[in-house]
């Protein structure tokens, strides 16, 4: 089992769009995926037409495997389930680290409840908190969308220094450029600079700014479902290939 956290300490950078499309790409590749909507706004669930759960705001929620598994919803896509938002995700990090331990009681309970996923993708809320810190520890990879602007550069700097001060393993950080507009000189320059500055932190794939991604809101589905031949669909597929297989497609 592998845990991928989609994180940025800034809102509106494309975390949710990335989580949704990555989760879909993993499921299409034949893996079983649980997409956890950790953001109270519940946008990830929205894209899969899964209604946020109302009742499950119990603080002790993650101590109880049964309640956890009962709140999972199947998406319309084979192998892809959603854990809806609106829950108190306190202790979720502890839950996650127990999940990875093959011999833990939790792991065994999840296996027998049919909740043993190949991949868990976390759509995280944008702030530094103890939850984020612990999720950084639990995750195998932290995928960070970065819009190539001066402001985003500053936020990414903050994230890297946070890792430094907390002595967190920086190799987990997988940044990529999000909402890229190649017509904009500023975008191209910023990308150039940041790639030099953080050579090891950045993936080669990037996601262009595309109207098709915005249209996910009307279609309430991953891009590849309603625009399978779009540039955005290809870009998310390439991002998946690089994260999962380290394959860099020539684009």
């Amino acid at each position: 089992m592998k845990i991928i956290a989609c994180y940025s300490n800034k809102g509106g950078v494309g975390k949710t769009a990335t989580s949704v499309n990555l989760a879909y790409a993993y499921a299409m590749a034949g893996q079983t995926v649980l997409l956890c909507d950790l953001d109270a706004q519940g946008a990830a669930g929205f894209y899969f037409r899964v209604k946020p759960s109302k009742k499950l705001t119990d603080a002790r929620f993650f101590e109880d495997v049964e309640r956890f598994t009962a709140s999972i919803r199947a998406s319309d896509f084979e192998g892809l389930d959603v854990l809806p938002a609106n829950m108190t995700f306190r202790d979720f990090d502890v839950f996650l680290s127990r999940m990875r331990n093959k011999r833990s009681r939790l792991k065994k309970a999840l296996v027998s409840a049919g909740s043993d996923y190949d991949v868990i993708i976390l759509d995280c809320p944008p702030n530094f908190s103890t939850l984020s810190e612990n999720i950084f520890k639990a995750a195998d990879q932290i995928v960070v969308p970065v819009i190539p602007t001066t402001l985003s550069e500053r936020t990414f700097d903050q994230l890297v220094s946070f890792f430094d001060t907390k002595k967190l393993p920086k190799r987990k950080l997988k940044a990529f450029f999000s909402m890229v507009q190649r017509r904009k000189t500023l975008h191209l320059e910023t990308m150039d600079e940041m790639q030099k500055l953080y050579r090891k932190r950045f993936l080669h794939s990037s996601i262009p700014f595309a109207a098709d991604v915005e249209r996910m809101g009307q279609n309430r589905a991953p891009v590849s479902v309603f625009a399978p031949r779009s540039a955005a669909s290809a870009a998310y597929q390439a991002l998946y290939d690089e994260i999962e297989n380290g394959v860099v497609s020539s684009q």
């Binding site: 037409r49 209604k51 009962a70 709140s71 999972i72 919803r73 199947a74 319309d76 309430r220």
Partner: protein, 504 residues
């Protein structure tokens, strides 16, 4: 608790509007049906699968086996094949226990349509999925529905299942499918139940049994002609043999003249079937024969079986010709008419004896005879006496089966068990001796005027005879022990109390 896939059988035309109307807040979407395909329901002649609650559907080169609604599929054809000869797969596994000697044949045909459906909520999110297979015949329609739960949508799943359940209106298992599609399909029974009254005149009992088995025999003719499997001819012969044994064992029920005439008529009816049956038996044992002799004798055995196969084809085609003649059909119709009413028959001196009293007398007498013969058997008794014992056991068994409805079923079961064991033993003893004789005859046939036979064939046959003789001896040695089982104080007591009360 995780919900599992549910299955429903919905007889009649599927009312989509009614179904959709009954689901509050949910919106069912039925996909357009895929192009219709022909289908056939496969089973064997006595509908073993149907009796075990299963349905086997062949369509477009795929077999689909339904058991308790749950389908398994395998890509292969099945019609005309034996279950154990199908390629390995889930359908073959599901057919374990299917009669080994019975071939799969078509029980009925029609058209089949598959389509899937999704049940959506107000956000157009799928909450339940499923698929529906609609089968139609000239007589009616039935839809087989499979409903899959989706994680986290238990309530909708239960609502949808509830709706289908209402539409199924209590129809479960596979019987409604047969009722809807093939309501006129006759269930073949090799041994139908025949009710007998204790005071019923024996001539009526005899007539009922004969009429029933004449009909059973006729139900096998088509299968013999189509050469579907060997059991058609076997059942045909067994039915006629039952008729013959009623005529000979129910002494004095019909007039002496009619008894003689009927005996001859039924012997004549059976005579042309004997050769095909013998050859069927040899061919069924082919693999066992090869196992009896070492590989260096296989060449001759191969030649022998090739000869048997040729001969069987000839014998069957002449039997088939006979079955197709108008005179045969006329003869069978005449017999059916004759036995349609006991008033058509000439009564003998025992015609009016009450069934129960008559049965007791016949069975008691035959039982005494079996015991007398069996108790005399020692290692030195000639084989002919053992053969005689076999025939009397068979007669006793027939009598007990004919009159079984008059007696306590549990007591009969207790008696039949050791009797059957003894009979199996005697049957094998007889088979081995008949086979040796047949092999000797075969070599004689294959020999030229100087009595010289093909060396390979002769060697194989010699080898076989040696083994068969050995086996016959072994069976012979078991007879005494098996009879002693049958001759236990408990069984003796049962016989006396069931059939010989007056003096008991």
């Amino acid at each position: 608790m995780a919900l599992v896939e549910c299955f429903f059988v919905i007889p009649g035309a599927f009312d989509e509007a009614w179904f959709s109307g009954g689901l509050k807040g949910l919106d069912p979407r039925f996909e357009d049906a895929k192009p219709a395909q022909g289908f056939e329901i496969l089973d064997c002649h006595d509908q073993s699968l149907r009796a075990s609650g299963k349905v086997l559907i062949e369509s477009g080169g795929t077999l689909r086996l339904l058991h308790a609604g749950e389908p398994v599929t395998q890509r292969c054809k099945g019609k005309g094949k034996f279950a154990q000869d199908l390629p390995k797969g889930p359908v073959r596994d599901g057919l374990a226990g299917f009669p080994k000697l019975r071939a799969l044949m078509s029980m009925g045909a029609g058209q089949l349509e598959n389509r899937s459906f999704a049940i959506l909520d107000d956000l157009q999110k799928t909450q339940v999925r499923g698929s529906m297979m609609t089968l139609s015949s000239d007589y009616g329609q039935v839809s087989l529905v499979a409903v899959q739960p989706m994680r986290g949508y238990d309530r909708s799943f239960q609502a949808v299942c509830g709706k289908f359940d209402e539409m199924a209106a209590g129809a479960t298992g596979t019987e409604p499918l047969f009722q809807a599609l093939f309501p006129n399909l006759v269930v073949y029974k090799a041994k139908p139940q025949i009710s007998i009254g204790t005071q019923e005149p024996s001539i009526e009992v005899a007539t009922d049994i004969i009429r029933t088995y004449l009909a059973v025999a006729r139900q096998n003719e088509a299968g013999v002609l189509a050469d579907i499997d060997t059991e058609f001819l076997h059942d045909y012969r067994v039915s006629l043999r039952r008729v013959r044994s009623v005529i000979s064992l129910f002494k004095g029920v019909f007039s002496p003249d009619q008894t003689t005439a009927l005996k001859r008529e039924f012997s004549d009816l059976m005579a042309p079937t004997g050769r095909v049956r013998d050859l069927d038996v040899y061919l069924l044992e082919k693999d066992d024969y090869f196992d009896l002799i070492p590989p260096n004798l296989h060449e001759g055995a191969k030649a022998m079986f090739a000869q048997f196969e040729k001969e069987r084809a000839q014998a069957l085609s002449s039997l088939s010709r006979r079955f197709r003649t108008a005179s045969y059909d006329q003869q069978m119709n005449d017999l059916a008419a004759l036995f349609s009413d006991h008033g058509n028959l000439q009564p003998g001196e025992n015609a009016d004896r009450a069934a129960y009293e008559y049965a007791c007398a016949l069975i008691w007498k035959r039982y005494r005879k079996v015991c007398k013969l069996a108790r005399r058997i020692t290692p030195d008794t000639p084989d002919d006496d053992v053969h005689e014992l076999r025939i009397d056991c068979k007669k006793l068994r027939y009598l007990m089966e004919f009159f079984a409805p008059l007696f306590n079923a549990k007591a009969f079961k207790t008696i039949i068990k050791p009797l059957k064991k003894l009979q199996d033993n005697l049957g094998l003893f007889n088979d081995f001796s008949v086979q040796q004789e047949a092999l000797l005859r075969f070599v004689a046939q294959q020999s030229n005027n100087q009595g010289r036979a093909n060396a390979q064939i002769a060697m194989s046959v010699g080898g076989l005879i040696a083994v068969l003789n050995q086996r016959q001896r072994t069976e012979r040695d078991r007879v005494v022990a098996n009879f002693q089982h049958f001759d236990s104080p408990e069984i003796r007591h049962l016989f006396r109390s069931l059939f010989h009360k007056k003096e008991g």
